[in-house]
């Protein structure tokens, strides 16, 4: 491929939008009136002009291929006037003004292996990350965990039976690129990094590795006459941040890198303010290819939420109402001392009151 380069880069940033918008979107741009959900996976938006736009939402694998994309394009050409879009949760959406297109499109999507759902009070697709497939620091696979969980929770993707939307994320290292969610599955390391002194000096910039540590546990040292780094194990909180800066700080381990479950994250401002998610289980084994312990737990949490949550109550809001004590009782999860914060703002999370449920 060492041919001479003649093209001069155009630094345009995001691709131009206009050619990609559905014609009905263009016509009614910013002039929408309301929407309805005729069935799970389908939205019906009505514009002030009276125009109607149906949206069919379907699951994808996120880790897709040109073959899959071309098949989706075929469907878009046939049923959605040559346009399609993705949601922020890796679902694909087809829009059409033809009500008659909706059912055949759904049938075709499901036939092609793309279940329709994820709207309204359902469990939408997991926002997940790279994992063993691509990242340089993962302790687990992301696509595999996501697939396993969604297989287990499939009914609730295709049905709108939850109290409110449920957003899940999974992250393949403690850094948590998946972000906050109603329920998140995140890697949790359980011991300090083992330092590979052989390679350290060659592969790592030491000062930036030192400064990457949130608790200043890394110090310069000399090993076998070579400059290297050491970890003050009492200080280290096993976060793995140093591993991102320096591959010699070997934090991953098939047994010691485990999975933790977090609940109650919320980004929307609806009713309650956005909230960070909280730790409710840890020490789950890293158990490919199906990580059954994880799905099992998620099912338990969702079952309790489904049974107890009131309409419009997000998972964290449900817990706020019934109290954390009952959350642990109703899910059967054990509370333990590690769930009490001991980091920077720990005090803020203590029960600074005599308010107690007995």
């Amino acid at each position: 491929m060492a041919t001479e380069r003649i093209w001069k880069t155009i630094e345009n940033g995001p691709h131009a939008l206009d050619p990609f918008l559905h014609p009905v979107s263009i016509k009614n741009y910013g002039q929408w009136q309301y929407h309805e959900r005729p069935r799970p996976g389908v939205l019906k938006h009505v514009a002030k002009s009276g125009d109607v736009l149906y949206t069919v939402r379907a699951a994808t694998h996120r880790q897709v291929t040109v073959d899959i994309i071309r098949r989706l394009c075929d469907l878009a050409d046939r049923y959605a006037e040559g346009h399609l879009r993705w949601t922020v949760r890796n679902n694909v959406e087809f829009m059409t003004s033809e009500a008659a297109n909706v059912d055949p499109l759904i049938a075709a999507l499901e036939a092609a292996g793309h279940p329709v759902g994820g709207t309204g009070p359902s469990v939408s697709a997991i926002a997940h990350t790279q994992g063993w497939l691509h990242c340089d620091i993962p302790a687990v696979d992301a696509s595999g965990v996501a697939k396993s969980i969604m297989d287990a929770l499939f009914h609730d993707f295709a049905h709108e039976e939850m109290p409110n939307r449920v957003r899940l994320t999974t992250s393949c290292c403690e850094i948590n690129c998946g972000g906050q969610a109603d329920i998140a599955v995140v890697v949790q390391h359980t011991r300090p990094p083992r330092i590979n002194h052989e390679i350290l000096a060659n592969v790592c910039e030491m000062p930036s590795t030192v400064s990457r540590c949130p608790v200043a546990a890394i110090r310069p040292t000399t090993v076998n006459g070579k400059p290297s780094l050491m970890v003050v194990e009492e200080k280290c909180i096993y976060c793995g941040a140093c591993f991102g800066a320096c591959p010699a700080m070997e934090i991953n381990h098939p047994d010691h890198s485990r999975l933790a479950i977090w609940v109650g994250g919320k980004n929307s401002n609806a009713r309650s303010k956005p909230a960070n998610m909280k730790l409710v289980a840890h020490g789950l084994p890293n158990n490919p290819p199906r990580w059954p312990e994880v799905s099992e737990l998620l099912k338990r949490i969702l079952a309790a939420y489904k049974a107890g949550g009131r309409d419009w109550e997000r998972l964290g809001e449900w817990i706020d109402r019934i109290g954390w004590k009952r959350f642990f009782q109703e899910t059967g999860l054990p509370f333990d001392k590690f769930m009490i914060d001991n980091y920077r703002h720990a005090r803020v999370s203590f029960n600074q009151s005599a308010h107690i449920r007995f």
Partner: protein, 414 residues
Amino acid sequence: MSDSQQSKPDPLQLNPTPMLDDLENGPWPSFIKGFKETAQRTGKTMVRGVLDQLNYSYETRMGYWKGGVVGVHGYGAGIISRYSMISDKFPEATEFHTMRVQPAPGLHYSTKALREVCDIWEKYGSGLLSMHGQTGNLQLQGIKAESVQACFDELNQAGWDLGGAGATVRTGLSCIGPARCEQACYDTLHVHGKVLSYYSDLTHRPQLPYKAKFKFSGCPNDCTNSIQRSDYAVIGTWRDEIKINAEEVENFIAAKGLEYLVNNVVSRCPTKAITLQGGKMVIDNRDCVRCMHCLNVMPKALSPGDDRGITLLVGGKGHLKVGNMLGSVMVPFMKMTTDEDVDAFIDLVDRMIDYWSENGLDHERVGECIERVGIQQFLDAVGLEATVEMVAHPRDNPYFKAGDYTVESEKDAA
């Protein structure tokens, strides 16, 4: 599996991946099925190698990629390079770089353009894509270093540009907003386009203390998760009164019943701004905090007001190193209608980025920087007035450098 790498003459023949095969079952789409299909159709051995290495990861419960430096002419970011640490075992997986491509705002595509991407990608790369990365990139996964420039040039000719990586402005994300949503309080898509185009240079060439992300949500429902996942969260809102369609309120009550209204609307308003008065639903807009809940439940009856604009929240990010940060209000309201409005917005953000560039430590996000230097200093530097909307409540400790009251008081004392 280590013997799975014996010489394989037939590129269409996959090696056994017993751990992965289980993931072909179940109702959810299977990425393994997809990968195998493409590998078998195209005979791309890179995909076979990646499947083999992935299967090995599943067996050993460890990852085997390491980074490196791969780029395109003139840019310092946009390619995430991946070399196998065990290429002796899986030579076909030796290189597996990803190109981060900036999609159009709202993740919209025409089939024409998307097919074109597929064709270019099949020509130069593995044929695997990730749609989309959590930040919002179209990730083309699996290309060798030698093919990167040509692939990019062809994509760029088709109107595509790379996204950010490392210490750059990152690819933005916007909700579908005015293209389909009745709640959109500003044009997320065009503002996204304009702002990110403006920051192209900072996207392509690492010159910042650390990453900087923008996300654009048309209303406080925040369908892009901007508050937690972006340094600059641009959230639509309105300043005047919620628009009430009285007839549709009646219809709602007729259809759902008054009790439903009480239990799901009136009593769910976080500030009790909604009351029932004489069987009618009354909103005291002075107490409304624009949470969206009542509008969400009654989209036909209630709509955002007419005096629309945005709230800018700054400092959202993951938990490294300070614990998870949600963005916090830096500009309670700003119009976002005209081009001048967008320019004024860019102007303000420029000042923030400048201040952070000069004062941020290495690997310090803007939110952490503000926390470290103190918000007062940041506000002064970027020329913003402190307002009560910025806080949940005023400070609860006396540890501040109060202003200097000398002048008048010394006069008094004299």
